[in-house]
């Protein structure tokens, strides 16, 4: 009874929350836009080194966001592999010998690799880019993994950690290069912007795929654990 009442109360509160939010959106939408930002963006596009505005925002204008965001992804990856304490991340349970899956693999994996490459390449002037390509690459990895293709590079050894860090470190180096020239952090020299962004995007693709894949396969766990502090065990 109390539980039902509580549910009712929370439901009412959430409906009220939605209503207030919607009213607020309506009120804000009634005021003509203040933003000069899209215009400012298109004026500066020529200096960004890429043609696609979203990529320009992500990897040039607001690249600090993206740098930290890759940091968040790497943190999740680190925390994920710290949970799985086996020497190998292989989980025999995952291997399936489904003929359908096998057929899927034969046709899909090459297709998905091509798709990932295309998305990465397209990012400069069309929709697409490192994240989408990385996600597709990771999905390919998951598919391969479900099919039981051995993936030794996913052992939590040095190689995996290098892979996790590769994209992030290259991005970080690209960010700090400009400082040596006496410029601000993350300021690409204008004539170098395009190649730098391209390099950063390609390694990011690999790293994003690696992190997501590591998180996917690190979920199986074993029982090793720390005792709590002060626990005599």
């Amino acid at each position: 009874m109390i539980r039902a009442l509580r549910t009712c109360f929370i439901a009412l509160a959430c409906i009220a929350f939605s209503a207030v939010l919607a009213a607020n959106i309506w009120a804000i939408a009634g005021v003509p836009g203040q933003g000069a930002l899209p215009q400012l963006l298109s004026e500066n596009m020529s200096r960004s080194g890429v043609e696609h505005p979203v990529t320009a925002v992500l990897l040039n204008f607001r690249s600090y966001d993206t740098l930290l965001e890759i940091g968040v992804l790497v943190i999740a990856g680190i925390a994920g592999i710290s949970m799985s304490k086996t020497t190998s991340l292989e989980d025999p349970e995952l291997r399936t010998s489904d003929p359908l899956l096998y057929a899927l693999q034969r046709w899909f994996i090459p297709l998905m690799l091509v798709l990932a490459g295309y998305l990465l390449w397209a990012g400069a002037d069309r929709p697409g880019g490192a994240f989408q390509a990385g996600a597709v690459l990771a999905a390919t990895g998951v598919l391969m993994r479900l099919g039981g293709i051995p993936m030794d590079f996913l052992r939590p050894g040095l190689l995996l950690r290098l892979g996790l860090m590769l994209g992030f470190s290259v991005f970080l180096l690209a960010a700090v290069v400009s400082v040596i020239g006496g410029d601000a952090f993350l300021a690409y020299p204008p004539d170098m912007a395009k190649p730098l962004i391209l390099v950063v995007e390609s390694v990011l693709t690999l790293s994003i795929a690696m992190v997501l894949l590591a998180l996917f396969v690190s979920a199986p766990v074993n029982d090793a654990e720390d005792p709590e502090e002060g626990d005599p065990s």
Binding site: T7, I10, A11, C14, I15, F17, S18, L21, A22, I25, W26, I28, A29, V31, P32, G33, Q34, G35, L37, P38, L41, P53, V54, A56, V57, L58, R62, D65, T66, E69, V72, L73, I75, A76, A79, G80, M83, S84, F131, I208, V211, L212, L215, F216, S218, A219, P220, V221, D223, E225
Partner: protein
């Protein structure tokens, strides 16, 4: 009323649904779903509201891309934690804790 505004309103509704799920559900995976749904609602508002006023705007689109990646990172980490938690305690919710009645996240 434009298309963008319609979707921003849908985002407000999704926020409410997601919030309810986060507060009321107990199964951890369901709460994770609720978090993702609420996140989608926020992203819809983030893009829909400015686009209602001044047409397609790449800045919030880029922000939402960042937000999606942060959300998948958080979700994946949460799944790893939840699985390990289940592995060690056999439980899929935070409730049933001795000495603490409330299962809410707060």
């Amino acid at each position: 009323m434009t298309l963008s505004l319609l979707y921003a309103m849908a985002g407000a509704a999704l926020c409410g649904i997601g919030l309810f799920g986060l507060l009321r559900l107990s199964h951890l995976l369901r709460r994770l779903l609720a978090f993702n749904i609420m996140g989608s609602g926020v992203f819809l508002i983030m893009v829909g509201l400015p686009q209602h006023q001044s047409g397609p705007d790449p800045v919030p689109q880029a922000l939402v891309l960042t937000g999606i990646v942060v959300a998948i990172a958080a979700t994946a980490l949460a799944v790893v934690l939840i699985r390990r938690y289940y592995h060690q305690s056999g439980m899929t919710s935070l409730e049933g804790e001795s000495g603490s009645r409330e299962g809410g996240p707060l």
